[in-house]
């Protein structure tokens, strides 16, 4: 019979290995199911700690990694030799590993920052030398608007390794002023004048109490340190900073307390000879030349 050769068909089926196909299909089905389930569960877990876009992207990335592993395993069951593929994949992996090193570092730093929450959008922070308000916190970077209105993007790896000061993490903060008075002045009288000034400002807190004391006997005068506590909100802190120093200066002046200029006594090891033009004649008993 020319039409149907049953012996050829059975040989073909033996070569393909029906069991292998069946197993591969089952592996793919189960793998996709498990990956989808895991994606959903991880998304629900991550959403508790991280923002929604991050949770979605990370769970999706894990989903695709699982699908990839399942796909490769299924091809293996079909009898396809994956050695070359694995070697190529390994090399590509190493190359990508080096190429994406900084990206990976930023990604994981971002995740740790989300986890640790040293700040949140809207906070006033200082990260390294950059000071400003956090406007955006993504997986890869943190964006800050500085006092000058310039937006700065800081990679999360840098953020993670930097010293972070969060001014909004506390309800209040302390600010300091140094006020110099002349050595001849009475520091205790200056305390009273300065205390009256800080007491009058509505945003200087009553508790914790302002602290005023001589902290240094300076080169030109006695330096008094004025420490006051203010609400952490920047516009309020800034207002106190702007108001107080000038108010203290005015009050000291009104009470006749001298604020010294810098004074330097210059001492010469050897005697000096001073030559004054127009006075040469005096040495010889002549009148100085007035022209």
């Amino acid at each position: 019979m020319d039409g149907l050769n049953l012996s050829n068909i059975s040989g073909l089926v033996k070569e393909i290995d029906v069991l292998g196909i069946l197993f591969s299909v089952m592996l793919i089905v189960v793998g996709v199911f498990v990956a989808s389930l895991l994606r959903m569960l991880l998304y629900k877990l991550f959403i508790r700690f991280f923002p929604e876009p991050t949770s979605r992207n990370v769970s999706r990335a894990i989903y695709y990694i699982i699908i990839f592993v399942v796909g490769v395993s299924a091809l293996g069951y079909l009898g396809i030799d994956l050695t070359g593929f694995m070697v190529a994949g390994g090399i590509i992996g190493i190359i990508l590993g080096f190429a994406l090193q900084s990206i990976t570092a930023n990604l994981f730093s971002g995740l740790f920052i989300y986890w640790e929450k040293p700040f949140k959008p809207g906070d006033l922070v200082k990260i390294g030398n950059v000071e400003g308000w956090v406007t955006d916190l993504t997986v890869m970077s943190t964006k800050i608007v500085g006092f000058d209105g310039v937006k700065v993007r800081i990679p999360n790896r840098t953020v993670f390794e930097s010293l972070i000061s969060n001014y909004y993490a506390t309800r209040v903060r302390r600010i300091e002023f140094v006020v110099g008075i002349a050595y001849k002045e009475d520091a205790e009288k200056a305390y009273e004048v300065l205390y009256d000034v800080v007491k009058k400002h509505p945003l200087v807190l009553v508790e914790p109490e302002p602290d005023i004391f001589v902290y240094e006997l300076g080169d030109s005068g006695v330096n008094i340190l004025v420490r006051v506590w203010v609400p952490s909100r920047w516009d309020l802190t800034y207002k106190v900073m702007k108001d107080l120093l000038w108010a203290m200066k005015k009050a000291l002046t009104e009470h006749g307390i001298e604020i010294p200029f810098i004074q330097n006594d210059v001492w010469f090891r050897t005697p000096l000879r001073v030559k004054i033009e127009g006075l040469e004649g005096l040495d010889k008993g002549k009148k100085p030349n007035k022209d």
């Binding site: 506390t170 309800r171 209040v172 509505p202 807190l205 009553v206």
Partner: protein
């Protein structure tokens, strides 16, 4: 002349301030507030129907950044084990000028104070509360009403097993209610219960009005968020 809280026309004197309403043309009024001869506030209002002086929550000056008021007693109050003490304290209040238009909607034109404005931290720097600060005597009788002060009736209940020493009370302006008697400077809050649970903690409950004749102020909507439990916890000391 100062008349007291309530509706005013043309001009009114409140402490050091003088408020003048100038009719520019039909339906247009210029609102001006002077401190002595110095013009402090000037606003133009269209179609106002009436102006009212209202006692106001003391958390809006110099600007709003807290909802709390800390009243410190100039003398401490000792309450015996499982005992009660009924005292009156004076809380600072600011003064708001409400303008009414059609549809009974009101707007706040101006808020000012006749008191010294000071704030203090209640608690620790990282988790404490910044609150408007005032010192009051704990009276055993109703103190004479005064401009810029509201009378607060406080019932201190000692639930602790020992004598307690109370030196301050923390009030939340979001739960507090203010009442006033029109034509006078009399202002009141509702009755407050301070349940002292330990020598350092207490819970503040807000009750009913203490003066039946007093009228309740219309609260600004942003000061009235929905709340489940209308109480304030004092966790960082009571004296």
């Amino acid at each position: 002349m100062s008349t007291g809280y309530g509706v005013f026309e043309d001009s009114v004197v409140v402490g050091n301030y003088r408020i003048v309403l100038e009719k520019i043309e039909e339906g247009v009024v210029k609102y001006k507030r002077y401190c002595g001869d110095k013009l402090v506030v000037s606003k133009t209002l269209f179609k106002p129907t009436r102006f009212e002086l209202i006692p106001f929550y003391p958390v809006f000056l110099p600007e709003r950044f807290t909802n709390y008021i800390l009243v410190k007693f100039d003398e401490e109050v000792y309450v015996p084990t499982k005992g009660e003490a009924l005292i009156y304290v004076e809380m600072p209040i600011d003064i708001a000028v409400y303008v009414y238009g059609h549809y009974r909607k009101f707007g706040i034109v101006d808020v000012f104070t006749t008191n010294e404005v000071k704030y203090a931290l209640y608690g620790v720097p990282d988790r404490g509360i910044v609150a408007r600060y005032v010192v009051s005597h704990p009276y055993t009788f109703i103190p004479e009403p005064e401009l810029g002060k509201a009378t607060v009736l406080v019932n201190i209940r000692n639930r602790h097993d020992d004598w307690i020493e109370v030196g301050k009370i923390l009030l939340d302006a979001q739960i507090l209610r203010l009442f006033y008697v029109p034509g006078t400077w009399n202002a009141y809050t509702q009755a407050i219960t301070m349940a002292v649970n330990s020598p350092v903690t207490a819970t503040i409950y807000y009750g009913r009005r203490i003066e039946p004749k007093a009228r309740r102020i219309h609260d600004p909507p942003d000061l009235r968020p929905p709340r489940i439990m209308a109480k304030t916890e004092m966790l960082w000391g009571i004296n």
